[in-house]
Symmetry: C2
Subunit: 452 residues, 2 copies
């Protein structure tokens, strides 16, 4: 028979078991973190009517989307989790309680040009809080706490949540008579980290056609930094010149006010006036999160406040705030940087039971008892030599091997071998389960990310 | 602005939050059960090259598949989890340890005619054990234990794992000179439950053109039932007439031999000679699982032993055994039957912290402390009247409300209100966390399925 080459499409992540285990660990840490803040898990179809997904239309989205017909239906794969959320909230409005807090971890699809580290199918992990008509700014204040908790659970320490406010920016541009150029200016200012203030000033003058004094105003504003108190003090000097600016400043003050009560250390948080995040969707607080020692990776968790989640589907005003983690890309980048812990147990089981007798009853019973004792247990089933059996355990990285032979059966015990220490002891089944559980609890308490 | 109707495609399940919580509970029970037997979680792309997915080709699959082009690529959505597993094992053969045990819970796509209870996007929850060249029959013996454990975790009690062996059937037909008609006979015998032995006999004579005596042989064989020991005793009477039959009988004996050691009660297990499960893929033990009081639902967990997982991709012999749960359909059916527990907490949080003062520091701190104490905690953020706040907690079904007002702040406590009992007490934050955790542990120990 002629064979088809078993290949996986380029741009689609498919992991070997040990790596998959690490990704699963990351996903469960995210689920736990989001659930601990009272977000409900949501699942929406990967396929939607193209008309629904493309309600907003236009731009890159339309080019990248996977769109196809089936029967009479014009269908498409979701390209993010925000549009399906908007559809969901608009469609189920009457049945939901607001503020509606949901998390969703799911695959999305973008037919981008395939390149290293870019994926066509990738997980996003999103949370959103959606209000009905109104949504208090306190929700914007809670987001940094959630980001901090989430990355801390994952094991990341050296990261910074960078926060800005779109009203502050828009107000600043308005008070300088630069509102029409705001979009262009923000695009240039976005390069500040990469090309420095001198080059940015040049671009503002040459390309955006700003007066040198005005470009200096922009750079002075963007250069404001320091502790939250210092930044806010500097920003207070602009108060009274523009109502939108003043509202933005008030919001920023609220967002920073409860940080300590939320448990966010000052070192993991910074007001950063250069952050803008797109042009028309966000209307208040915006967030980016960067790994302090890997700025080149860019933001690993971004989002912000918006006023109108579902304007393409409903007249209802549904303001919200949300953040998104590009999980597949983050996982890939962490792997590249060697930051995924090697200490994690990635074996499919905690204990491999190896029968040493013809009759398997005792081995089967020992495996069942271990399982009942909370131990992930695999029964070795194949008729192979002892060496091959142990080498199977080795290759899988199984933490414990449990041997059940004539002697053990006669004595009513099992032989428990710790594969890391090499130590082997005879114990009752119950004692073996306790010993395995204790070590596994210790080993699985380690975080998935490990900073050097 | 003109609006697009926010609709979800027909045949695509999209749940409200409380229902989604129940489905999540089912999924985590499945993950825990599969992991406890040493299966590793696997994730493969939803999109594959059409050529790869359709390597086997033909039949219903080809008609139902979602297939489309993107750029130069001929793509398709997976229609099951078995073909992606075959591809995965063939592609990563050199990097895997055999027996390779994996579970996968993922969405698959079939563009079937939409009808009540039929889904075009649905979750399958599969396990497979794949050997390299050989795979011991002991693996087939372990499967009923896994099925039993899994449904018991879900809370189902009245179900039966029905087991047969394809070699036994093929051998029986061979010894009766009916091998060419085996397929037709099995299709008719499959109706035994629905139309009864008398009608089946008629069909065997009229449609399959069998002699009456031979059709009686078939019916006599299919009617064999009783305890495992009784059935095997009856089957032993056929031994020696066909080598394939004898091998099948030996396998069946092995599968039943360790049931007790595996902890499977006899009442949840039955040898059922009428089960055949398709025609060409399965080669040994086959499984179906039925709800004793809902036979009309059909099998809720099926599978079997196969000799050649990946023959379309590789010359390597990769025998295996696997079972699959059609999770979306099962969830739908359980809902229809009113068998999803109403006792489960489906609220997104265990506790809703309601601030009663202008300054929110204490409420924010109380929420952070509860969370640190392992309580899923939402901080109520909106400026609404007390009644509206309590009604929000009510509608969400939140188990506990935590009030933080002037008095509580002065006394260094919180007021903890149990929403089910109505009882309200003042406690320190730590004591409140303990009280909430204790009740939640009790309430979340209940299974998701509840038989009347």
């Amino acid at each position: 028979m002629s064979k088809i080459t078993p290949r996986t499409l380029s741009g689609f992540m498919e992991l070997l078991p040990a790596e998959q285990m690490k990704l699963e660990r990351m996903m469960s840490a995210l689920r736990e973190s989001y659930a601990s803040y009272g977000f409900t898990p949501l699942d929406t179809p990967a396929i939607e009517a193209a008309e629904v997904l493309l309600a907003k239309g236009g731009g890159e989205t339309e080019k990248q989307i996977y769109r196809f017909r089936k029967g009479d239906n014009d269908l498409a794969l979701r390209f993010d989790l925000t549009v399906p959320l908007a559809k969901y909230v608009a469609a189920h409005y009457a049945e939901l309680c607001f503020p509606f807090r949901r998390y969703q971890i799911g695959k999305v699809y973008r037919g981008e040009r395939a390149q290293r580290g870019r994926f066509r199918e990738f997980y996003q992990a999103d949370i959103d809080i959606v209000g009905d008509g109104k949504l208090d700014v306190l929700n914007e204040a809670e987001i940094p706490a959630i980001i901090y908790d989430t990355f801390t659970r994952l094991g990341l320490k050296r990261f910074k949540i960078r926060v800005n406010n779109r009203k502050l920016l828009n107000g600043f541009y308005a008070m300088n008579g630069m509102s029409e150029k705001a979009g262009e200016i923000m695009r240039v200012v976005d390069k500040l980290d990469k090309i420095g203030p001198h080059k940015v000033k040049e671009l503002l003058i040459d390309e955006v056609k700003m007066l040198p004094t005005k470009s200096e105003n922009v750079l002075d504003f963007m250069a404001i930094c320091g502790t939250n108190a210092e930044v806010i003090e500097r920003l207070e000097q602009y108060r009274g010149m523009d109502a939108v600016f003043d509202r933005g400043l008030d919001e920023l003050i609220t967002v920073t006010r409860y940080l300590q009560d939320f448990g966010v250390p000052e070192e993991n948080f910074a007001i950063d006036l250069t952050i803008a995040r797109g042009l028309d969707y966000y209307t208040g607080t915006v967030y980016e999160t960067t790994m302090t020692e890997h700025p080149e990776i860019g933001s690993i968790c971004s989002g912000g406040r918006y006023d109108n989640l579902a304007e393409y589907y409903t007249d209802r005003q549904l303001p919200g705030v949300g953040i998104s983690i590009g999980l597949t890309r983050l996982f890939y980048v962490l792997g590249e940087q060697g930051m995924l812990s090697d200490e994690l147990v990635t074996a499919p089981c905690d204990a491999l039971v190896i029968p040493m007798t013809e009759d398997l009853s005792h081995a089967v019973g020992a495996a069942a008892a271990l399982r009942a004792g909370g131990v992930r247990t695999q029964l070795y089933t194949e008729k192979k030599k002892f060496k091959a059996r142990m080498s199977y355990a080795d290759k899988l990285g199984v933490p414990f091997v449990v041997l059940v032979g004539e002697d053990e059966i006669a004595e009513g015990v099992v032989s428990l071998k710790n594969m890391r220490s090499g130590e082997q002891v005879k114990l009752t089944g119950a004692a073996a389960a306790d010993a395995i559980r204790a070590e596994m609890a210790e080993r699985s308490s380690r975080a998935v990310i490990q900073e050097k």
